[in-house]
């Protein structure tokens, strides 16, 4: 949920026409930086998320790993994905990746959503669900390349991480950032975080022996407002299924926002065409016209 007093809207799902508030405020793009190389998997961020957002508790599952549950839930927006990764030299490595909404610059959920105002993107880059406008169709699940939105069958609404838009709107950092004990989580402007991430990746490459260390900020979705530093940026899939090349299905881009309106226009143009056919050539009346007087034809 958002704080509309302080965050200006940049994009609204399924909203014809202009967006009120766009370009009405000086606003920097915010960004969360997750340094997977210094995450110890303590789950403080998971707890902080549940606490701050007052989410009802759900059962956790134990599967012999350091992961709280198999995947995020409608009431659990933030999950440390644990992976035991075997390196090329046969040694093991524990990969901890904080999984949550990536707050894409080009959000697939927002593109797929058919309900006006159910998903908004703020000028600062946060993508937020407005449950009061959500119709529960779950198309956002299909539009999201990161498998983030979660459906609540009771309320028939979809939920996900809001990047604590209520806190950010008041000048605070998100709850997860606040709780992180190792400092693997950072929050600031996108430019600052990108710079910090790149310098950390460089440090890992030059001094820690992670030659392939790099920053995950996929351009295919216009960049994200949650970025990662990975030990091996060439293999994000190893971090609990982080897609290497995330894409929004073209059905929600070219089809929905271009071809479909054209098709609809064509259908209505056809209706106009029918009308003018009627005007130009007239109806197909019963023949012969005019009928003789004793004909019981319809007149």
């Amino acid at each position: 949920m958002s704080d509309e007093r302080t965050l200006q809207t940049k994009a609204i799902s399924a909203h014809p026409g202009s967006v009120p508030g766009r370009h009405m405020q000086r606003e920097v793009e915010v960004c969360k930086l997750i340094d997977t190389t210094t995450c110890i998997g303590c789950k403080a961020c998971e707890v902080a998320c549940v606490e701050w957002n007052d989410l009802p508790f759900g059962e956790t599952t134990f599967d012999n790993t350091y992961q709280t549950m198999p995947e995020t839930r409608w009431n659990y927006w933030n999950l440390i994905k644990f992976n035991e990764h075997t390196r090329a030299d046969g040694t093991l490595m524990w990969l901890m990746r904080k999984d949550q909404c990536m707050h894409c610059a080009d959000p697939g959920c927002l593109r797929a959503c058919p309900a006006d105002g159910a998903i908004v993107q703020y000028e600062n880059g946060i993508v937020d669900f407005q449950q009061e406008n959500c119709i529960g169709c779950q198309l956002c699940l299909s539009g999201c390349p990161f498998d983030i939105p979660r459906f609540n069958p009771t309320t028939k609404k979809v939920y996900k991480c809001s990047l604590c838009s209520d806190r950010v709107g008041q000048g605070l950092e998100p709850a997860c950032i606040k709780s992180c004990p190792t400092g693997c989580l950072h929050f600031g402007t996108k430019a600052e975080m990108k710079e910090l991430a790149e310098s950390r990746a460089e440090q890992l490459r030059n001094f820690s022996g992670f030659e392939k260390a790099g920053v995950y900020d996929p351009e295919s979705v216009g960049g994200t407002h949650v970025i990662y530093v990975l030990h091996d940026a060439s293999d994000p899939e190893a971090y609990g299924g982080l897609p290497k090349d995330p894409h929004i299905p073209i059905v929600y881009t070219i089809w929905k926002h271009f071809l479909k309106p054209i098709g609809l226009f064509a259908a209505f143009a056809g209706l106009v065409g029918i009308f003018f056919q009627y005007i130009s050539f007239g109806p197909r009346r019963t023949l012969p016209q005019p009928p003789r007087k004793d004909d019981n034809g319809d007149r």
């Binding site: 014809p16 006006d116 299909s142 999201c144 299905p249 609809l264 259908a267 109806p283 019981n296 034809g297």
Partner: protein
């Protein structure tokens, strides 16, 4: 289900409702056919309106309020759609034998331009109870219920559907909706303004003899045993 039972009984006995055929008229649609047609029509229009509410942002604000809200449109649309599919099945039972594609239907399609322009010409002698255009609409509906049902059930309960399967369903559901919208416009026009005297066939069940020999000559010959051409010329 009670409605379904009634329909069955109605078809068997011809008991509920009747069609009065007055002098100079021909029975075109039985009570059963009419009832089924209008059940199809009502469910189709409801499904169409609630579906197009979610079709594009440009229609959402216009159509969603008809059903209370977008959420309600989403909730009701699958039920309207299901009603449409079921009623179409009944329509299929009644009409499928008359909708078989015949060699002369190709001939009709070749002259479709004349059909729209030369409106003062009667239909060709071979045109039976339904012309090729009506048959195409019938079979389009048949295909549409298949597509709508398969993709629709998945979109109704997408919880366990992968994101790829979901956008594929979404695409074909959309595409079919668009085709049906276009077809519906044509059907509406042909059934009302385009061919005067047609609508009453679906309301009262009867059409005039002149209507029958003009628009469906072969059918006229079949039901009256008279020659449509002779009767038509005899009126001059």
């Amino acid at each position: 289900m009670a409605t379904v039972e009634n329909l069955r009984r109605m078809q068997k006995s011809g008991g509920s409702g009747r069609t009065i055929v007055y002098e100079g008229e021909v029975l075109r649609h039985s009570v059963y056919t009419r009832v089924v047609h209008w059940l199809v029509a009502i469910s189709f229009i409801l499904a169409l309106l609630s579906g197009f509410a979610l079709f594009t942002p440009w229609l959402y604000a216009w159509l969603a309020p008809i059903f209370g809200s977008g959420a309600r449109a989403r909730l009701l649309h699958p039920w309207f759609g299901l009603a449409f599919v079921i009623t179409v099945l009944f329509q299929f039972r009644g009409w499928i034998s008359q909708m078989r594609w015949q060699p002369e239907d190709r001939q009709w399609l070749r002259q479709i331009k004349d059909y729209t322009i030369k409106t003062d010409q009667p239909e060709a002698d071979y045109v039976g109870k339904f012309n090729a255009g009506q048959k195409i609409w019938f079979w389009t509906m048949g295909i549409s219920v298949l597509v709508f049902l398969i993709t629709g059930v998945f979109l109704w309960f997408p919880e366990h559907l992968g994101r790829t399967a979901m956008w594929i369903c979404y695409f074909f559901h959309d595409l079919m909706g668009l085709i049906m919208l276009g077809g519906f416009f044509i059907h509406l026009y042909e059934g009302t303004g385009g061919i005067p005297g047609t609508l009453r066939g679906m309301l009262h069940g009867t059409v005039t003899r002149a209507w029958a020999w003009t628009h469906h000559p072969a059918w006229y010959r079949e039901v009256t045993g008279r020659d449509p051409r002779t009767d038509r010329e005899g009126q001059r």
